[in-house]
Symmetry: C2
Subunit: 348 residues, 2 copies
């Protein structure tokens, strides 16, 4: 048996999960000498994605209404990975293939049913950094693409305001919106991120919400109002956007990261929703996996975004935590706003 260090959910956190307490790295084992299961694979995991939604699996269950099963103490944390096939009993995969798949965050995994974990061979004609397939070319990028087109309905000349603009999804929304001819304004939590979105991503304007109130910055930077508000954050950002929304505004609800670490009773709540009535705004939640979202836009998203990344016109940023031993620290850092760009764990 070989050692197989694994990121394990240990205990329900109240706020941001504490490494070593709520999330631990456990030395489990795996038999790398065994044959792969019938129709299945044994893989080595190269990169694993950190995504804020995982925090929502660390709560009391909310039953049938949730989109993924709640974590139980002792469960490995599963998420999107980029992995290399070591052994295969499936006709669809060969040893050496690089795949994306939803797997435990660990060094290795046995995959009894590749389809059940959405294993898919990477199509990487431009030989891009594999980490990008967890960010702009993965779930966050597809989320941006599908949500912006389907709900945001961008029109050239309009103004979009993006919260958490340097983040995994936000940077993609901005990149797409620029190419659609919109005026793009972003909110970030550090001057370094501000420099990134304005100088490297080409946003028209941005601000550091830790230095200027969002209630001042939004009307200052969006003098003609907001046509699309990309909601990643909740709280004051949502309120400021609502009170500067133009008639017929659209609000794709992608995340409300301020609320992820709080039970409903402790959340601040969004005030001023009345403005949505005066403006006839549409506020729509979505999950990238829903049939009318991700699947519809997958092909277009891959083609276009691979092209932009390959030609250097979209300088996406990855924020890499190195090594499985740091897996819990990397996860928690994401909620402290310490990362710049798409957060991921490089395992090997």
């Amino acid at each position: 048996m070989a050692p197989n260090k694994t990121l394990v959910y240990n205990k329900m956190p109240e706020g941001i999960p504490v490494p070593g307490e709520h999330l631990i790295v456990e030395e489990r084992t795996i038999d790398l000498d065994a044959a792969p299961p019938a129709g299945g694979l044994i893989v080595e995991i190269l990169n694993a994605s950190y995504d804020p939604y995982l925090r929502n699996l660390m709560r009391p269950g909310v039953g049938k209404k949730f989109y993924a099963a709640m974590l139980q103490p002792g469960d490995p944390v599963r998420n999107g990975t980029i992995s290399r096939v070591l052994k295969s009993d499936s006709p669809d995969f060969q040893p050496g293939d690089i795949i994306s798949a939803s797997l435990p965050i660990a060094q290795y995994a046995v995959v009894p049913d590749p389809q059940a974990v959405r294993a898919r061979k990477l199509h990487n004609p431009h030989n891009l950094d594999l980490g990008l397939f967890l960010g702009p070319l993965g779930m966050p990028g597809l989320t941006a693409w599908a949500g912006l087109h389907k709900i945001g309905k961008p029109k050239a000349g309009e103004t979009i305001f993006i919260s958490s603009a340097a983040g995994a999804v936000g940077q993609c929304v901005g990149a797409i919106a620029k190419r659609e001819g919109l005026r793009v304004v972003g909110s970030v939590g550090s001057d370094e991120k501000l420099k990134f979105i304005t100088e490297e991503l080409g946003f028209d304007a941005g601000f550091n919400y830790k230095k200027e109130s969002v209630f001042d910055a939004v009307p200052r930077l969006c003098p003609d109002g907001i046509d699309i508000y990309w909601e990643n954050v909740g709280g004051d950002h949502f309120e400021a956007a609502l009170s500067n929304l133009n008639h017929g505004g659209r609000v794709p609800l992608c995340g409300m990261i301020e609320d992820y670490n709080l039970p409903r009773e402790k959340q601040k709540g969004v005030r001023g929703l009345l403005a949505a009535i005066y403006t006839g705004a549409t506020i729509q939640g979505f999950l990238v996996g829903s049939p009318e979202f991700g699947p519809v836009y997958y092909k277009e998203h891959q083609e276009k975004m691979q092209e932009w990344l390959a030609d250097g016109s979209f300088k996406a940023k990855l924020d890499i935590t190195e090594g499985i031993d740091k897996a819990a620290e990397g996860f928690s850092a994401m909620f402290k706003g310490e990362n710049l760009g798409k957060a991921l764990l490089k395992i090997q």
Copy 2:
């Protein structure tokens, strides 16, 4: 000159307007012996509508984003009325005609431009009570009709939860939804209202939110979840609805009456909006006057609802304040939940 008592905005209220302080009835005058203005009318006002949105005109201005001009101290309060034409210089109206028009809440009015106040002759083939043309057959009824069809997209077998269900709009939403084959559940603020919606309007279920927490009542009465939430109220109602919403739920935002009397800073805010992401819910504000709402549904609404009211299958309730002297009291009562049904003022 004849006396013309008029409901006048006197001073900005902080909470619910106090009669005699924020709203006063002033004795103004009118020359009833004069000729009508060129192309215009002189009318006697029979009934005036009380609508919660009027409270929103009694705030600090929010400029271009608002849908009606803010009231200034000394302004008469204008709203929908049913009036009788006394004198006409317009080819479209004859003395004796009964019209609907947006006019000052007063005994009489001079109407220089009938079109500008949306004057329209009543089409009343079933000889229905004129007050109904300010309620189920007026703006509130059309609001219900357009919002439910356009945003709610009701399908037989679904569940709709209606807040403020006995109110002007709520009772109409319920009546329409029943006829569309939905399971209709309503929240009201008194046992008398509960009796009204379940026994007279034929709602499938309801509860008095002053006696049972909306967080208990909603899951109890909507065991299969909510497909459409008709939002009139805000606050806890909105939160309870969100946390019981089914996948693909729709939330027409019609009002948030709990917030009307509070500035944004003092509002409680809506928590749990995260649920809109998991369920892919669409939350959409609207104003009945927008081109894609009221105007599209006007004809259908009038025909069908006149029929239901005439054949007695829809027992709409009006809550009538008698006499212009009580005009301010009637307005404030609406925000205290004291009325049952559509609130209006009978002037003569």
